[in-house]
């Protein structure tokens, strides 16, 4: 779960990382009297908002209100701005980068730092990055921070100051179960280091440990949200063939084979390892609402039995008939029984993926 900047900063502050004293508004009237200069930052879950015009400065209350009314409701890369974070403008001497991520390759945490902050970290050449894997059972040790400080060219005072921040960010990363905890830029001000921006992604599988954390709804289509609420892995795509399969890998492979034959998937729906008729029914309900011309069902029966899935499908469409034809590819345990059950209802059922795909592409209007 990706958090908004203002939420991430709140958490950073709790873990001892200095952040600007700001407040959040949802309409321009909430702007407090401006003394000096303020920055108005659009709260969206997408990067590059500065370039997109989502961050503006103001030096009077009136100007701040005017800019706020322009920013609120604005569209940034498909995301609507609903909230602004208002902060005093900070005096920046230099920008740095600091983050902890889950590193798939080492299966440990990774600390990344650079003296080139404020830009996309992917664009910084490797030799300008400080990278060190951190063992999850050992955590951050002083030698790592020393090495980081030398690499970044920090003086003694700055080294002392950044130590606090590295420990603070490690504490955010581990205690909040983050996939990513990032400060970009970490800015050097006359008063020391400060997190000018904050990015925090909480591991979805760990949310049960953070029940009190405010939930952030990702941008889903209404249908994706509905599927999510029912615990179904579902992604809406832009083709016209509604794909249902069991298992994520098999569902992906199904999309690939369709495309190889000139078809285009309109949905990715993974039934998972279940043949639970209730789940099958819900899956067909979801797919029935998707804008597609044909449903393509690909089942490999292993633990799941083909005939049980077939029965579930028949029950589902009897209760709520589909407006589009179904093509099924059924393979594995009890496949003959499964195909028979579907054929009785006039559903085309095949054993090989390619035969079934060709039929589905034909019904969907060809390549």
């Amino acid at each position: 779960m990706k958090l908004y900047e203002y939420m991430a900063k709140e958490i950073f502050r709790k873990h001892g990382i200095p952040v600007p004293e700001g407040y959040v508004i949802e309409n321009p009237e909430e702007i407090k009297p401006v003394h000096g200069e303020v920055v108005l930052k659009s709260q969206v879950l997408v990067g590059g908002r500065g370039k997109a015009g989502g961050i503006k400065f103001a030096s009077s209350t009136e100007e701040a209100r005017k800019i706020a009314s322009e920013l609120l409701g604005m569209d940034i890369k498909g995301y609507k701005v609903k909230k602004l974070l208002i902060e005093p403008k900070i005096e920046i001497q230099k920008e740095y980068y600091l983050s902890f991520i889950v590193d798939r390759s080492s299966r440990e945490a990774m600390l990344i730092a650079s003296a080139e902050g404020g830009v996309e970290i992917e664009s910084v050449p490797d030799e300008k990055l400080f990278k060190r894997t951190i063992n999850p059972l050992i955590g951050i040790q002083p030698n790592v921070i020393r090495a980081l400080s030398y690499k970044l060219g920090l003086n003694k005072e700055q080294m002392k100051d950044i130590t606090k921040i590295v420990y603070g960010l490690w504490s955010v990363f581990t205690q909040e179960d983050a996939d990513l905890a990032e400060i970009n830029p970490l800015v050097l001000t006359p008063d020391g280091f400060m997190a000018a921006d904050a990015k925090l992604i909480i591991n979805d599988d760990s949310l049960f440990r953070h029940a009190d954390m405010e939930k952030v709804e990702e941008e889903y289509t209404p249908l994706e949200r509905k599927a999510r609420e029912r615990g179904i892995a579902f992604v809406q795509l832009d083709g016209n063939i509604g794909v249902i399969a069991n298992g994520a890998g098999l569902t992906m492979a199904t999309l690939d084979v369709l495309s190889l034959h000139g078809g285009k998937a309109g949905t990715f729906l993974d039934l998972g390892g279940t043949d639970d008729p209730e789940k099958v029914k819900q899956a067909f309900e979801i797919i029935g609402e998707a804008p597609i011309d044909v449903v393509f069902l690909n089942i490999f029966g292993g633990i799941t039995k083909c005939d049980t899935v077939a029965k579930g499908v028949v029950d589902a469409i009897k209760e709520k008939p589909l407006k589009v034809p179904i093509v099924a590819r059924i393979k594995g345990v009890n496949e003959e029984e499964g195909k028979e059950i579907l054929r009785k209802e006039g559903i085309g059922a095949f054993s090989t993926l390619e035969d079934a795909v060709k039929e589905a592409v034909k019904l969907a209007g060809g390549a």
Binding site: V102, R104, D205, V235, G247, T251, A253, D256, L260, G332
Partner: protein, 287 residues
């Protein structure tokens, strides 16, 4: 020989009294696996499918000599269960449970390394050596004894590919489902290394998917260290960027983890990459 599990494997089932644990204890026994013990705290003294249940892993190990564990314990308690097995001296811990918190996964994998144990998973279907033993939830009927080693990040897609091998008369030495999470105990490289060293394995099938760079790293390893022929299939060629395709690990972000990059890396390492899953069987037959 096969790898990791064979006739000497003595399996302990953690979470044996749950629905999944019970069902798969039966299925593993039907496969011919020597399931010697189950553990569910508070249920010691019971029997499930004729298998004695203990309160702690240590007790189960002492009484039965179990050397491999399979974990069906719910995600919030998975790390604790895995650590209990490692501390009791279990050398192979197969973690079926999905949705394990990623920081728990990192910790238990790190601890296993320290103690000389190996974790498969989490979020994996386990592994099977036909004619010897199965420690997992893979369907029994798809396998046939033989000389092809299979390693995969996927579940059902693996069953599909193994089944097509079996139908083409191609048997398997061991099939290992390493799991679909971003952080897993055993990766492609470690399993490829075991297959390379296993005299019974002659050819290797690798099933990858989009997300991360595990396939690219495996390709580098194959180039340097694998002499046996490798065949691969990569799922997710048509997956749009930024969308998580079911598995937590299957997501293309900022141009990283695309199927094209993986296929290119594998092909340049001399791996034959199939365009559709069932094509692997045809490719092996032709060679």
């Amino acid at each position: 020989m096969a790898i990791l599990v064979d006739k000497n494997t003595k399996v302990l089932v953690q979470g044996i009294t749950g629905h999944q644990g019970r069902y798969h204890t039966m299925a593993m026994k039907e496969f011919g696996t020597n399931v010697v013990a189950g553990v569910t705290p508070g249920k010691g003294g019971q029997k499930v499918e004729g298998v004695p249940v203990f309160n702690t892993v240590q007790e189960a190990v002492n009484e039965t000599g179990a050397n491999t564990s399979i974990v069906f314990v719910p995600a919030p308690f998975t790390m604790d269960a895995v650590l209990e097995s490692i501390d009791a001296g279990i050398k192979l811990v197969v973690t079926i449970t999905e949705h394990v918190p990623v920081h728990d996964a990192m910790k238990m994998i790190s601890y296993a390394k320290m103690k000389g144990s190996r974790i498969i998973g989490p979020n994996c279907p386990g592994l099977a050596s036909p004619g010897k033993a199965k420690v997992g939830i893979l369907p029994n009927l798809i396998f046939k004894e033989g000389n092809v080693g299979v390693v995969s990040r996927s579940g059902t897609l693996t069953y599909e590919i193994v089944n097509s091998l079996t139908e083409a008369g191609i048997g398997q030495s061991t099939t290992v489902g390493i799991g679909g999470d971003p952080v897993i105990g055993s990766n492609f490289i470690e399993i490829l290394d075991l297959f390379e060293k296993d005299p019974e394995t002659e050819k290797i099938v690798m099933v990858g998917e989009i997300g991360g760079t595990a396939e690219e790293e495996a390709a580098e390893f194959i180039k340097e260290h694998v002499s046996k022929p490798v065949y691969a299939y990569i799922a997710g060629r048509t997956a749009p960027p930024g969308k998580r395709m079911g598995h937590a690990g299957a997501i293309v972000t900022r141009g990283r983890g695309t199927a094209e990059s993986k296929i290119r890396a594998l092909e340049s390492a001399g791996v034959k990459v199939a365009r559709i899953p069932t094509e692997i069987a045809d490719m092996i037959k032709r060679d």
